[in-house]
């Protein structure tokens, strides 16, 4: 029988940090992920991680920038924690072995980033996420805790009181399902970028944890807040890091105009992401784009700086756009990148379900509100991953014997068996593509009620058709097709919630811009949206925003 005190699901930065912290508290911890930890999507964070570490900076300044960046939708108690605990988190990462860039005195060196009033982004070249993820993996190996690599969770398991007490998971390598009991489950399963097409997100970002939690009764908060990154490549949606703008890159329209002067006269290209993406989309929509894109110009930075600080960006632009950024501007456009919303938690990662915790992109603490600042996501994973791990370890000390029915396992086995036995029908990939394209077209940078209703109808249609999706691979060993069909179910549920939440919020705030409700409406909408699962679809409600010291103001960059 597989059983642990704390089971962490997801082995990216938030998951590994949670596992390390729980282990430190002396409880039995295991970590489980559908991929090996170093394959996680934390890898893709290029630019850096924020902290007010320098003497002329302050946590208050970092917190205010984050509040303003969130368009006042972030919960300020959580943001204060994020900013206050950031310096120690960065120092800890450095002490773990992260090879941060240094200044001439041998101390940590920082760079500028969007929406920030100080250069407080600490970095490892332009592969900060990868460097931190691999160092966290080193620390994980050091503890020797149990790691279920390539196990896919298909169901959260409850005891008779309704508390989450484990998971049913498929060992991908054998295809066998197992009941893994736990006194607490920490979800750290990352984002849901694959709900959109294209997306900068990896193929594994299918929102599994959010969907599992949602179906189990957890609240999904602010799911309409989807971030579009301003600089993605047209060919395959690949991301060019904000580090490029931090180092001074320009955005130009087809006339060679630095159009950000019109939209954010002070911060220009370094305004927050929602502002820059909107500006780009307006330029493109009004005919000043180039083939559906704007131009990203780095030539003036010079070959040396590009090679030292932005080598990966050069490589990506060369490979997927055929452009050498040393000599030519590269066409870019806004692309789906991140979801600010997620499983609602308190500042210790606790959800509304007993025994269930969450951290990282799958969670919504809520530090990002309507728009996340660049380099705050890596920070969120380590600060709130640690807190969730500590809280889960503390929580399990008061939990007695775990009693869950074996029926959970039998039911899942029957469900999977049923999927494998379906007669040949539609292909899962075709449905995902239709869903992704619908979401990009109708639930993008700009939205209208009409477009959202159309998307809602389309998602309903796809959910119907999902019942006829078949699994072409009938085997059990490493059946990636079966896994994809299960992931698609998760994605369809989340697409439905994103659309419903976007319809519900009748104002424009942060990344959510309704052309039919173009203004921010603090009187009615200084509120979070929360979605609850019902058999008939998501039920929407609101929750108050926590304001500690920064009253909402007009937002200008």
């Amino acid at each position: 029988m597989l059983q642990h005190d704390v089971l962490v699901v997801g082995a990216g930065l938030a998951g590994m940090r949670a596992a390390l912290e729980a282990k430190k508290q002396g409880v039995d911890v295991a970590i489980m992920s559908k991929v090996y930890p170093v394959r996680s999507h934390s890898n893709a964070a290029q630019g850096g991680i924020n902290a007010a570490l320098s003497e002329d900076d302050s946590w208050e300044s970092h917190a205010f920038d984050t509040v303003k960046g969130s368009d006042y939708l972030g919960d300020q108690d959580a943001i204060e924690i994020l900013a206050k605990e950031a310096p120690q988190a960065i120092i800890e990462l450095e002490n773990f072995g992260v090879t941060f860039n240094r200044d001439e005195r041998g101390r940590l060196g920082s760079r500028n980033f969007g929406g920030a009033s100080h250069a407080r982004t600490y970095f490892v070249g332009d592969f900060t996420g990868q460097a931190i993820l691999h160092v966290m993996f080193e620390q994980l190996l050091r503890t020797g805790l149990t790691s279920y690599d390539e196990w896919f969770v298909t169901q959260l398991v409850k005891d008779d009181s309704g508390a989450i007490r484990g998971v049913v998971a498929m060992d991908i390598r054998t295809g066998q399902l197992h009941l893994v009991k736990a006194k607490a489950v920490v979800l750290a399963t990352g984002g849901m970028g694959r709900v959109y097409e294209p997306s900068t997100n990896a193929l594994i970002c299918t929102g599994d944890g959010m969907a599992l939690a949602y179906r189990a009764g957890a609240l999904l908060m602010d799911m309409e807040m989807v971030q579009f990154h301003p600089t993605t490549l047209k060919a395959n949606g690949a991301l060019l890091s904000e580090a490029a703008r931090g180092e001074g890159a320009y955005l130009l329209n087809k006339d060679g105009e630095r159009f950000m002067f019109k939209y954010a006269p002070n911060k220009l290209e370094l305004a927050s992401r929602d502002v820059v993406s909107r500006a780009e989309q307006i330029e493109i929509n009004e005919g000043r784009g180039v083939d559906g894109c704007v131009l990203f110009d780095l030539r003036h930075l010079g070959a040396e700086k590009i090679m030292e600080r932005l080598p990966q960006i050069r490589e990506l632009a060369l490979e997927f756009a055929g452009v050498d950024i040393i000599h030519e501007p590269v066409p870019v456009r806004p692309g789906m990148h991140y979801i600010m919303g997620g499983i609602k938690t308190d500042v210790w990662g606790k959800t509304n379900l007993d025994g269930l915790f969450a951290a990282g992109e799958c969670a919504c603490v809520n530090v990002h509100g309507g728009n996340r600042l660049g380099a705050n996501s890596l920070l969120e994973t380590v600060v709130f991953g640690k807190r969730a791990g500590a809280a889960a370890a503390e929580y399990v000390k008061s939990v007695g014997d775990v009693r869950v029915s074996e029926a959970w396992l039998r039911d899942e086995e029957a469900r999977i068996e049923g999927l494998l036995k379906r007669p040949e029908g539609e292909k899962a990939a075709a449905l995902r593509l239709e869903m992704g394209q619908t979401m990009t077209r109708n639930v993008g940078v700009f939205r209208t009620g009409e477009q959202l209703l159309e998307a809602q109808a389309k998602i309903q249609e796809l959910k119907q058709r999902y019942q006829r999706v078949s699994v072409g691979d009938k085997g059990r060993i490493f059946n990636t097709n079966l896994q994809f069909v299960l992931e698609l179910e998760n994605m369809l549920d989340l697409a439905e919630v994103v659309v419903a939440s976007a319809l519900f919020r009748t104002e424009s705030r942060g990344a959510h811009t309704r052309l039919d409700y173009p203004n921010r409406d603090d009187a009615n909408w200084l509120k979070h949206t929360v979605a609850t699962y019902t058999a008939a679809g998501p039920k929407l409600d609101t929750r108050p925003v926590t304001i500690t010291r920064w009253e909402p103001q007009e937002r200008k960059y």
Partner: protein, 317 residues
């Protein structure tokens, strides 16, 4: 562009041995091998198993053999390996057991990473803030931190082909990252352990890992640097180190390599030498053991070069 993928497949639930299957797909001109494989999996044959995730060579999932060479499918352009109307041969990564189709067993891979104690071991408790280190040192370490543990180097390592117990290029590059890190204080223990059997001295400098690495980590160069550091740290009681010394010494003595002497001096002593007698005899019978070794004319000049270099090295220290 139209390309044909010739894929080596194996499904343990159906196949007794690997089989080849061809798929022809229409893709964009900039498409990668991964784009084509995904297209096959999504549209033609859902049973094709492979690992892939980020599509931008940072997660390391899709290492495999493409036209007999290890690499990331997401970093390999079809235009370069096949071209319009061409065929590309896709196989699972080498030197690891196949689980299914293009998926290999990574347990032995990560076991070797684990074997090099892959975590920073600083001296004493951590400082109040960050460790002070030069940007130059960090840049140096970053060269190896760029490793994404994809396993392309392991796939094509020619030593692993004959000796599966060799730690291999990925684990050794990981080990180097700590030895080269000024914050790590366990160099002595690390270099000692790496000088043991299956460690740094088993590399044959074939350059395959350097050639196939998608992140330019140059594992072999890290291995050579570990050897230099190990010898400097005094870990010389091993055949590799003795071989290296004997190589230099015979040249100093006679101006050219004395292969017989190098072979003899590389062993730990008479016992080991006797254990190799079978190999020695076979080499002799095949004319591989030179019977006489004459110094080159003017060998004393070579010695002078050695002396001069050593004086200079001494001064530099």
């Amino acid at each position: 562009m139209k390309v044909t993928l010739r894929v080596k497949r194996y499904d343990p639930e159906r196949d007794r041995s690997p089989r080849w299957q061809e798929y022809t797909v229409e893709v964009e001109d900039y498409a990668t091998v991964l784009d084509a494989l995904i297209k096959v999996r999504e549209e033609i044959d859902e049973s094709l198993a492979l690992r892939c995730s980020c599509r931008s060579h940072i997660c390391g999932s899709c290492a495999m053999r493409i036209n007999q060479k290890g690499g990331l499918a997401c970093k390999t352009k079809l235009a370069e390996v096949a071209g319009d109307g061409g065929t590309v041969v896709v196989e699972p990564a080498g030197n690891l057991p196949v689980v299914k189709d293009l998926v290999v067993d990574l347990v032995p891979f990560f076991d070797k990473v684990r074997a090099v104690d892959p975590y920073l071991q600083p001296a004493g408790p951590p400082p109040e803030r960050e460790y002070i280190a030069s940007n130059e040192d960090m840049e140096n370490v970053k060269g190896a931190m760029a490793c994404i543990l994809c396993g392309a180097c392991v796939s094509d390592c020619t030593v692993l082909e004959v000796d599966p117990d060799f730690l291999g290029p990925a684990a050794l590059a990981k080990a180097w990252r700590f030895v080269a890190d000024p914050r790590d204080a366990a160099d002595e223990e690390r270099l000692g352990a790496l000088s043991e059997r299956n460690g740094i001295w088993d590399c044959t400098h074939c350059f395959m890992c350097v050639e196939v690495c998608p992140k330019d980590v140059k594992p072999m160069e890290r291995i050579l640097d570990l050897r230099r550091r190990a010898m400097e740290a005094g870990f010389k009681n091993n055949n590799g180190s003795r071989h290296s010394d004997a190589f230099v010494e015979t040249i100093r003595e006679s101006g050219r390599l004395d292969e017989t002497k190098v072979a003899i001096r590389s062993t730990s002593g008479l016992g080991e030498l006797l254990s190799w007698s079978g190999v020695g005899l076979r080499s002799f019978l095949h004319g591989k053991v030179p019977l006489s070794h004459k110094p080159i004319p003017g060998a004393e000049h070579v010695r002078k070069i050695f002396d001069k270099l050593e004086t200079k090295a001494g001064e530099a220290q």
